[in-house]
Subunit: 297 residues, 2 copies
């Protein structure tokens, strides 16, 4: 069976180039452009890397990115003060606080302090709730990216059985929340399973679409996938590899080489869901910007 590779680089480029044209047109017609505040507390290397990637994406398509860095020793009060300031700044349409925050910060409090209208990560409970209720709200970027990837490749999930392995707040739960809604790109039958589930193998083996999002390297094996199923791999795991330059390589939650023989379509790692997350962050920022323009007219 030939297996289609769902190429997140191609699709994210397509999303970004669409946004770029849109931003240019809006700049010409209104004289305004979108702004994203990128807040980094401390100097966690992975967080720095993600923040840089997001800033690069902004530059590429014409979003102004504003950098805010606080030392790990900053107080929660300072961060709160900054967020309140950004909530009120009309040049800022999206606020991204890079998680995780250093010890001592109450992440939930910080996330809930961000104005829901600027919560382009889609982590504020108001947006999480609105999405589950099927009303307009920012969609969390990784699940939104999965939907966009499937849409791009004309993979219709309506009526199909999607089994999601993993119940995290950034992937499993919000993805289920999107897929069970009514309408195009959704209308799926959705199962969420996790570490406490009995018979995970049987569940995934019956699915039309399997999404692996548990952070266990190469967890999903060929016999856990129905022939012809679509497989979406959200995992990003480092595994030791003495042959690799850095001594490790990146693998997903899917045994790619084996599952690929069985599936009708699969996302690679890296280059699958990963690039989609940043693209959808940009899309949310542009959505927020467009809403702010509407408010001015």
């Amino acid at each position: 069976m030939s297996c289609k590779i769902l190429d997140g680089k191609v699709v994210s480029e397509s999303v970004l180039s669409g946004l770029c044209s849109e931003i240019r047109a809006l700049l010409l017609s209104t004289g305004r452009d979108p702004g994203l505040a990128v807040v980094l507390v401390g100097d966690n290397p992975a967080s720095k890397f993600y923040v840089e990637s997001k800033k690069k994406a902004c530059q590429k398509i014409g979003i102004n990115s504003y950098d805010y860095r606080l030392p790990a020793t900053a107080s929660e009060g300072e961060l709160c003060e900054l967020i309140r300031h950004l909530n009120n700044d009309p040049e800022i349409h999206g606020i991204l606080v890079q998680l995780p925050l250093p010890n001592g910060f109450d992440e939930q409090k910080i996330v809930e302090l961000i104005s829901p209208e600027k919560d382009v990560d889609g982590f504020h409970p108001v947006n999480v709730g609105r999405v589950l209720q099927g009303i307009s709200g920012f969609k969390s970027c990784t699940p939104y990216g999965v939907l966009e990837l499937l849409r791009y490749y004309d993979i219709d999930v309506a009526g199909k059985h999607v089994v999601i392995v993993g119940r995290s707040n950034i992937v499993g739960k919000p993805l289920a929340s999107l897929l069970i809604q009514r309408g195009p790109g959704a209308d799926a039958t959705v199962t969420i399973c996790h570490s406490k589930s009995e018979n995970v193998r049987e569940l995934t083996a019956r699915a039309d679409v399997v999404v692996a999002a548990i952070g266990v390297p190469e967890f999903l094996t060929a016999e856990m996938v129905k022939p012809g199923a679509v497989v979406v791999d959200v995992g990003i795991n480092r595994v030791d590899d003495p042959n690799a330059k850095n001594g490790y390589r990146i693998v997903g939650d899917v045994n790619y080489a084996m599952v690929k023989k069985n599936a009708s379509a699969i996302t690679p790692v890296p280059g699958g869901v990963g690039p989609m997350t940043i693209a959808m962050l940009m899309k949310n920022t542009v959505e927020s910007f467009k809403k702010s323009l509407g408010g001015l007219q």
Copy 2:
């Protein structure tokens, strides 16, 4: 096979009597008691009936219920004004706006105007989002009642496969949201299916617990249920019955007589999930009251 009847009248009485003792003890120790504002717009007979039932439950256990009635001709602004007033009233710990509202009212707007701290129905997106994220927030009353019913009868869903038929905002979605959380009373594998789902019969036939919440009289038949499964019927449907006094009778979404032969436990209709909804509304109101006392200490 003998089938246990999950008696919502018994369980709701047990919840209510626990709340009654708690309220009495708090009255003695603090001199204060909980208050629920019950807002009815227009005179829909079903809504009037529900409002009366809720007021009766309040009286029974020592919650002050405050009645607010607006004519169907009232403006949305008047209702908003009332809600703002109730949000700021320290004697009011819960605000219940009976839905549906008459034509011309924006229900979503009204629900979002209620302070999340007084949203004892659990319909505000902030609470819906918090519950999905696994953080403290008011649980929507009917799903909360289903959990309480299962807990009372020691039916442990951890690791088990719960299949929910129906994706409404008041039952299917928030119930899935509760059941997939970590911890006691939850940790279930959850499937949501609906009108667009393929093979609903196969899905329910594999479930350890089936929840029917679609509003189709006697939809769930015996062959859709695995022998020994637990069946929860959230439906309340009127069907014509020339032999009945009023010309109709109330049935659920489950073919009770047939499924009972197959299941290990089942909720009847009426007298199953129905009474639980009001009991959990009272519980949420008491929780809100207790939080307000904490804030005063």
